[in-house]
Subunit: 526 residues, 2 copies
Amino acid sequence: MITGKNIIGNLNSAKGTATFKTFNPVENRENPWVFHQATNDEINHAVQLATEAFQQYKNFSGKRKAEFLRAIADEIEAIGEDLMNTYIAESGLPQGRAQGERGRTMVQLRAFADLLEEGSWVEATIDVGQPDKKPMAKPDIRKMLFPIGPVAVFGASNFPLAFSTAGGDTASALAAGCPVIVKGHPLHAATGELVASAILKAAQKTNMPNGVFSNLNSSGIAVGQELVQHPGIKAVGFTGSIAGGTAIYKLASSREVPIPVFAEMGSVNPVVVLPSALKESAHWAKQYALSITNGTGQFCTNPGLILGVKGEAFTKFITALGEEIAQISPTSMLHPTIFKAYEKGVEQVTSSAETTLVGAYNGKAAPNFGAAKVLTVDAEVFLANPVLHHEVFGPYSLVVQCDNDQQLQVVINALQGQLTGTLLGNAKELFEKAGIVDALKEKVGRLILNGVPTGVEVCAAMHHGGPFPSTTNAKYTSVGVSAITRWTRPVAYQNWPLELLPEALQNDNPLKIHRIVDGLHTSNTI
Amino acid sequence: MITGKNIIGNLNSAKGTATFKTFNPVENRENPWVFHQATNDEINHAVQLATEAFQQYKNFSGKRKAEFLRAIADEIEAIGEDLMNTYIAESGLPQGRAQGERGRTMVQLRAFADLLEEGSWVEATIDVGQPDKKPMAKPDIRKMLFPIGPVAVFGASNFPLAFSTAGGDTASALAAGCPVIVKGHPLHAATGELVASAILKAAQKTNMPNGVFSNLNSSGIAVGQELVQHPGIKAVGFTGSIAGGTAIYKLASSREVPIPVFAEMGSVNPVVVLPSALKESAHWAKQYALSITNGTGQFCTNPGLILGVKGEAFTKFITALGEEIAQISPTSMLHPTIFKAYEKGVEQVTSSAETTLVGAYNGKAAPNFGAAKVLTVDAEVFLANPVLHHEVFGPYSLVVQCDNDQQLQVVINALQGQLTGTLLGNAKELFEKAGIVDALKEKVGRLILNGVPTGVEVCAAMHHGGPFPSTTNAKYTSVGVSAITRWTRPVAYQNWPLELLPEALQNDNPLKIHRIVDGLHTSNTI
């Protein structure tokens, strides 16, 4: 049952008078539940509980934190159809996507549990002391990663499960040993409450300290601002727009004690079509029409920019892409405001510069349903119009036609930082056009060959993070187990009694983890 | 021969009219050389050359970059006595320190060369593709660290060699594959020019691209501000004051494209004296008198705060410390402005709160020579006066007397972030007083038992970096080989042709490095 209340540690709380509702975009009407926005008192209470919980939680073993994460996954699964129906009612996304995203959320939680059980993620590094070394004794120094404290996580509009309440940011922060306070996304507050209740159940079943997790409702920006500026909050995770993420980053940087913000923001994910791929125009046109419209284009990895060199073959590809796009029926967007922003974004492009329509769905679309639109533009026009470089969130893409490889490289150099960059072509072309590949690499966090950027595998080697503005910190990923290090910092022990060291740093390596000992990679004892 | 010119890539340059001189604080007179401050044209030219050099330099093998670093060390050694004399004339530091710091600089450069030759530092992580996996193919994903681009390094006043022109920031950035532009510290511009010339020679001998290194002179803040805001600069390294580092951090964060700033700033390095250590009062009093006055107290790890619980034994320690301090003859500070700031800092403490003198050198001191001063204060007074928490740069320390362990912990909780925290005591005390140890750990980057904080070992396990304001980024160290990752970001390759992957990511592991393959730590082939 949805209460509409905040979850502050072990208790429901609804002290405030400001309320809001969520919206069913497919049925184009409000959902029934009424949510109470968190008050400053409630925010302070959540941070206080998190700060107290941190004193215990930070010292829990990997095994114990893994139990908690697995219990969260189990409790979310146990909600069953109710979660799926609520997700659908609040997002307008279809059943298959709801199930897929739930599956991904389970995979994430359990991947971090696996990581904790294995244990090597703490990056234990040991230089054994040499008390007799001449001319001076060499001290014994041992460092590893430790959690930094309570983390504020901002839920994403487009991933009610996998990047929200129990999504990657929450899972990685809890795995690191940090209590989490979620500022739920207002578009899916009921989904958030169901998931938050599951986390709370899991916390109680596995005897986690009160305050290890809280869930705050809010419909505006005030709750988020208050959280980011709270002295008890030590880091922020965010997935969303460039405007939102940048505002949070600036707020966090101007605190008396600045804190790190790991914001994953908009991206246009350029795709470079090389000549050999144009021989498979029909294949790629179909793949890209699907990728552009997947989830009504509401993905941070949506291919918003397709680059190629003018010519008969590229024209043929563009025509094929247009034909495919025209055949794809509109699907619901997340909310009327997001639908309107999509329409406005396309309008801004077409009114700013001379573009040509490649393809669009021309039938009638239901309210809040986004019709795909692909435009094309000359590279010279693209270079002269910064508005064409910005993300249009929705089923949209812009094909940029370049005169030659030199101009293609100029266009890549003019792009902002991106999560991904894709090349369609063969190995010979990658070798011969190394300048283009290298220019693209400087702009992105992930280089994809012969695929679509949508779909981000959850694995250790994934890097989902690129240069600004695709993230505020290009050094970290928000997908995959490496995401855990965002919520940590190293501490070194010098000449510490061996028996009082954390297990990861002890001579006999009781956790049997991988370490760097005297500069050598090893899982041996000392 | 000192020319007083900037070094921009392969050439000397002195386009500007603004000039300055350095100062010999021991002889209390200006040094003869005249330095030309870099103009905006020269800054732009240096960044342009660095940007061009990056295109080549980033792709050089570890072996080739190691040759360059070793050549830099050799060329600096080859300067011989001229470097030592210039260092002494510009810093007022003694011969032994000059030699020691040169030795440390050599150790750093060669440690990074070793790291590059070993090769595992790139954190290669591979998830091998499973094209036949059901229900969906698993893509092949491989990531590693890559250099981010031209780096601006700000030289430190107190380490003319080890944290300046060819210091840890420069060595680690060049090791990562990033060209470096040094904004030399105005107090030791001649030392800087000698070292920069050595780097240039090394670059030419090992065929490095023009612009891989530049050295800019400046006496004010304009050159630094210009550099930090230059779109071509991708990261900043800084060692110095909280005011200077924070200003650079704020400037870098407010750029259109923010860049990371790794600033290592002031620290008071709290020392907690536990009861058992008071049985060795004489020993620790001597050790600490030496540590407080080492280098005239001009170290970021200087012990500026000593905490203990009131009682006969602590009083005895304080008395012994005072007696030791009184016997230590003043030594030169780096510059008259630094000497004056020291005097003013002590004056601010004594005029802000009721403190008692523990010990001071009472004889006559030569101009610019800093006389040690240790004060003591009641914990309650300390807690009520924020000015007492700040660093006084020089041979100064403040002993805070607490009523009991509870108050001691309150004092620790009230401290700002620190590079180090030291405990004097035994294992039994650490175990019994876990609350105190834990509180200290939350504030620092390195925990030291039974030693002094001065002296930072250069090794893989060192962490020289703590919570703000001791650094702007507690996740990174500026000492030890881990410092290299500051100048990098990961890029993942998806379904890339195996033969076109960087060597570190190839199946046969030609570099024989440590990697994470399908979640397992290994140096095997695939």
